[in-house]
Amino acid sequence: MPAGFYAAGVRGNLAKAFELTNTQLLRRAALPKSYTDLLGRKLFLALLTVQGLGAFALITLGVILQKNTTAKNVIRPRIRQEIARAGVALLPMFFFVALALGFLVIGQTVSTLAKVGAISYLGSTMVIVVVRELGPLLAAFLVLARVGTANVIELGTARALGEVEALEALGIDPVHYLIVPRVIGMALGIFSLTVYLIIGALASGYLFAFLQDVPLTPGDYFKQIVESLGWLDFALLALKTMAFGFFIAIVTCYHGLAQPLRLEEVSRVAVRAVTQGIVVCVLIDAVFIVLYLVT
């Protein structure tokens, strides 16, 4: 790949700045001759993808910072649209999932702790399971499935039909118009949905415990939870969910926009993007686990 390829492309305001022809070559290359070849090729592909995703993330961040006042009357309604799509529109599904999560997982934990007389650990268990881990990760996966795939398909189709070139011809930065609203919308959407999911799951969890005659008043239950929550939980929850949203949007938009796709390739790329989105979420989660343990 030529040096300064991305920067030159972005200066030129061209979508082809993100094209990784090397990955296309590797994917279309002949079958590897040995398992070592296969491993090497996979590793090389993974590194190229990481490089591409990193560059794309940095470019998007740069555009967010540089163009925060450009075309506000066009971009802000688009951001609101994306928040509605990655947040408000998913609320009914999230209320259902919150109920299910509470009934299936949390209710069982509450009743089991009550049986072994460990009811005093309830608050911290709830915080670790729901607030720190399950809530954010589940919200991220659901948004990835519902909105992330739509991102890849929409952008991939737009790219295949030449809409990105049309934006460039009109002097509209495709990253600013297509990617920035999706990234901001998804980051805020996942954050908000996680908060609703956690509240819903904790409430429905107590409901299930109550139905099982666990000797715990609502006041005691929520007191334990509040006592187990620290300022770090709130801060890291916000950071983690926004990081999930940012990177899910980056991965899905990168796969939709970065490669010059043919229409028949869009569905295959959507599957790849979802897989990579899950991997990225798990990696981010691992980083935050380390942060929780260190602090």
Binding site: L14, N73, L161, A166, L170, D173
Partner: protein, 262 residues
């Protein structure tokens, strides 16, 4: 004559153009071509002769592989955000229109105006409505491109390109796939633009059209060029086109002779 009028709109010196989809493949080489303000050029060529790539380069959307290209006197080698104002003096119409499928026709036309001038929908509506009216698109304003016939999609693409009142309009095979009535409309309207339309201040617009069929473009006021075997051949006016012995030109004109001899 002022200095801005003497500076060529398009000035290519020894330019080589790579394929849009494959930067390693040279489509056209050693292009020496100059377009003055107000001229109407028709660039003819067979399929895959590099017409679209030439126009993309002319619009400043691609950089030349070799040589220098000046658009309105500015070198496009380092074209970036700072040179956006120069880019916006160019309107580009893709073959097939390439409208944004999720927006309505009116939203498609309004988008460049709203983005470049930071306007709300209400602020842009007057200009958009006037242009839609001019191009007879008002009844289709609230329809998405997928629900509009190709003839009208192409016209909506023209409206979108004209909304920023460009000085140079590049049209990639604009008559391809159009019905006879629409072809006549386009030829008439482009002539009006070339002569100076009142909606655009009466100033003659510089036009460059690519085509694989020379027949509809017969007009003594137009200039012609041919892309063939990776070269650009500047043919001159219509008289020269008719008298030239080049086999490709003859092929591009063949249907005309068939028509006239019938």
């Amino acid at each position: 004559m002022s200095e801005t009028q003497t500076i060529p709109v398009i000035e290519m010196r020894g330019v080589s153009i790579a394929a849009m989809r494959d930067a390693s493949f040279t489509m056209v080489a050693d292009v020496d071509w100059s377009v003055a303000a107000g001229e109407f050029w028709v660039v003819a060529g067979q399929e895959l002769s590099g017409k679209s790539d030439l126009l993309m380069l002319a619009a400043g959307l691609m950089s030349p592989v070799a040589g220098s290209y000046k658009l309105f006197g500015s070198d496009t080698k380092d074209f970036g955000e700072a040179e956006l104002a120069e880019r916006l003096r160019v309107g580009f119409i893709f073959q097939g229109g390439q409208l944004f499928n999720q927006l309505t026709i009116a939203e498609n036309v309004a988008l460049p105006l709203r983005y470049q001038k930071n306007l709300t929908v209400a602020e842009a509506v007057k200009e958009v409505s006037a242009l839609l009216e001019l191009l007879e698109l008002t009844p289709l304003a609230d329809v998405t491109p997928a629900n509009v016939a190709a003839n009208w999609r192409q016209r909506a693409a023209l409206a979108r390109a004209l909304i920023l009142k460009p000085e140079l309009l590049l049209l990639d095979n604009p008559l391809a796939g159009l019905g006879a009535r629409h072809r006549q409309w386009w030829l008439r309207f482009l002539n009006q633009l070339s002569g100076g339309h009142e909606l655009f201040g009466g100033k003659p617009m510089t036009l460059v059209v690519s085509t694989d069929d020379l027949r509809p473009w017969q007009d003594a006021r137009r200039k012609f060029a041919l892309l063939h075997k990776k070269k650009i051949i500047l043919l001159g006016g219509w008289n020269e086109v008719e008298t030239i012995g080049d086999s490709v030109v003859k092929e591009l004109l063949a249907a005309q002779h068939e028509t006239t001899t019938q």
